[in-house]
């Protein structure tokens, strides 16, 4: 019983993390139909910036609780700078092209940003230990968990709820949904599709960076974390159905719990648990868990 509880709690924490890193990606794909491989770099940029800023903050003796704000600020800054630069500076010129070419462009951006990160921050791992342990622990049975995990969980729920509200209740959000559903029609109806793209990409970039920033206190930020995260984010997005927010949430939950169960009961399966889930889901529901019905155009 205790083990089952542990599996659930661990699964939930990991799912929260997966959701945060995947939600930006599914948003961008849903609206712009771009598979943004550079999402991994944005995650890395967010992590490095958060580690630097929070590290600087703590080093100079400011109150440690403020380091959380520092991390958030770092993520938002990264999104606000990198997002528009990539979108306005590069992607804008490529929209007419084949989908696969756009993937390639984002891959090239990913390569460039990898080395950019290396040039700016060097190759040594960065870590900021304080924010993680700052909030103390909570115990469930025989196990202790850091309260930071609750922060992660709370952040995931918060982001999910806010995005859901924005998308369905605000005018801007509904326009976004319209563009997801049918780009051409939305344009014909007078929606400024270009502006929607710009806003979406920037928000998606911020979310990616936020994923990195929130993860930074738990890990050692090192070169290569971007590449590892992309595949996970993609898998979650595809399992959930591209462009679907509830899909991403459910997929994150599924993958998180399966991985947690694998680690507890069959550790050697951990290596490919996510790919097994993806294969099984795609076999049963070819377009992911929540996929919009699309009319076939002849």
């Amino acid at each position: 019983m205790a083990q089952l509880l542990a599996v659930l709690i661990d699964g939930l924490i990991y799912s929260s993390w997966l959701f945060i890193i995947a939600v930006g990606l599914t948003l961008i794909y849903g609206v712009m139909k771009i598979l943004n491989i550079a999402h991994g770099s944005l995650y890395a940029l967010g992590a490095y910036s958060a580690a630097s800023l929070a590290g600087y903050w703590i080093h100079h003796g400011y109150p440690p609780m403020g380091s959380y704000a520092a991390m958030l600020v770092a993520a938002i800054l990264v999104g606000l700078i990198a997002g528009p630069v990539i979108e306005r500076g590069l992607l804008r010129f490529m929209y007419g092209k084949d989908e696969i070419v756009l993937v390639l462009v984002t891959y090239a951006v990913f390569l460039i940003l990898e080395d950019f990160v290396k040039l700016v921050w060097g190759v040594d791992p960065y870590f900021i230990a304080q924010p993680y342990g700052l909030l103390g622990n909570f115990t469930v049975g025989a196990l202790t968990y850091p309260n930071y995990s609750l922060v992660l969980f709370g952040a995931a729920v918060f982001i999910g709820v806010v995005l859901a509200w924005v998308l369905t209740k605000t005018r801007q959000g509904k326009m976004l949904l319209a563009v997801i559903h049918d780009r051409e029609m939305s344009g014909a109806m007078g929606i400024n599709v270009g502006r929607v793209y710009f806003i979406t990409f920037t928000v998606g970039a911020m979310l990616g960076a936020l994923g990195g920033a929130l993860t930074a206190p738990m890990i050692s930020v090192q070169p290569g974390i971007g590449a590892e995260t992309i595949v996970l984010a993609f898998a979650v997005v595809v399992i959930g159905g591209l462009g679907s927010l509830p899909g991403a949430a459910l997929a994150a939950l599924l993958v998180g719990i399966v991985r947690s169960a694998a680690v507890h009961y069959r550790p050697e399966l951990d290596l490919f648990s996510i790919y097994l889930v993806m294969a099984v889901v795609l076999i049963m529901r070819p377009k992911g868990l929540f996929s919009a019905q699309e009319a076939r155009k002849i």
Binding site: L35, L90, F93, M94, K97, E99, I100, V101, V103, L104, V105, Y107, A108, V109, F110, L111, I112, E114, D115, F116, K118, L119, A227, V231, F234, A235, V238, L242, E268, L271, F272, Y275, L276, M278, A279, L282, I283, P286, K287, G288, R296, I298
Partner: protein, 313 residues
Amino acid sequence: MKRYPILPILMAGSIFLLAVGPFLPRWGMFLINVSLCYGIVVLGMMLLMRTGVVSFGHGLYYCLGAYAAGTLDQVYKISDMAVMMVAAVLVTGLASAALGLLLRKYRDIFFAMLSLAFSMILYGLLVKTSSLGSSDGFNIAASKIAGITVAGTSVDRYVRYALTVVFAFLTGVFMHKYLNSHMGRLAEAIRDNELRVEYMGASVRNVIHVNYVISAVLAGIGGALAAIAVGHIDPEMAYWTTSGEFVFVGILSGTGSVLAPFLGAFIFETIRSFAYEYSPNTWQMALGITMLVVIMFLPGGLWSLFARKRGAA
């Protein structure tokens, strides 16, 4: 579109490579050898791209081909290159026939991700297998070809090089004929509009399945030849970044003709090699910038440099 006489160029190119081989520095022979192996795999990618699907999991077959060749040497102590090539073709053919049954129902990103999932599952299985060296892989010593021992002789490297050139030629010819045949033209039709093809009576799924198997076998051939040339194989060959490279080179080359993949692969390998040498700290950035430049100015891939359109018809 300017039409090149593809078959004579293939023939001439192969003969030229075979003739000039012994005079090349060994690193040059190796570079061309590896490029051609890549080129063969990308030839398969090109076929799939012409059919309208992109596979992010061809590393699976590249790796299977290499491991089929390698296991023959490691486990059964058969180190004949000819047998290895046959094994690679058989193994990848069977695997792709089976997986293709499932994959042929998918398109776009789902095809890509499902194929990626399978290749990563193979990766995971290989990493777990310590008898095959786990993530370190193992060395393979292909020492004979059709019974004649070449390892240790002065023609050793040339034989591997020549073998690759011959296979590149054969696969190039085959693909050229295939693309101009009934099936090949159906492939492009499917890319343009699947529904219409169905209405006209052809089976889209069958065509996709057949093309998938062909591309997989090509990847297996490329993998086995790479294993023979490099002498070492490891599970990294099935990792998604390897498959991503194939996709990348495919798009870089363009789908204009069967010469495009070989050209694209060669240029990619060369750029990467020199990027390593001249900017060991920023070779990724150099590669990324080069890619962007190519994409922006040559949207049809590198091949469009050679295939200029004539004036408006």
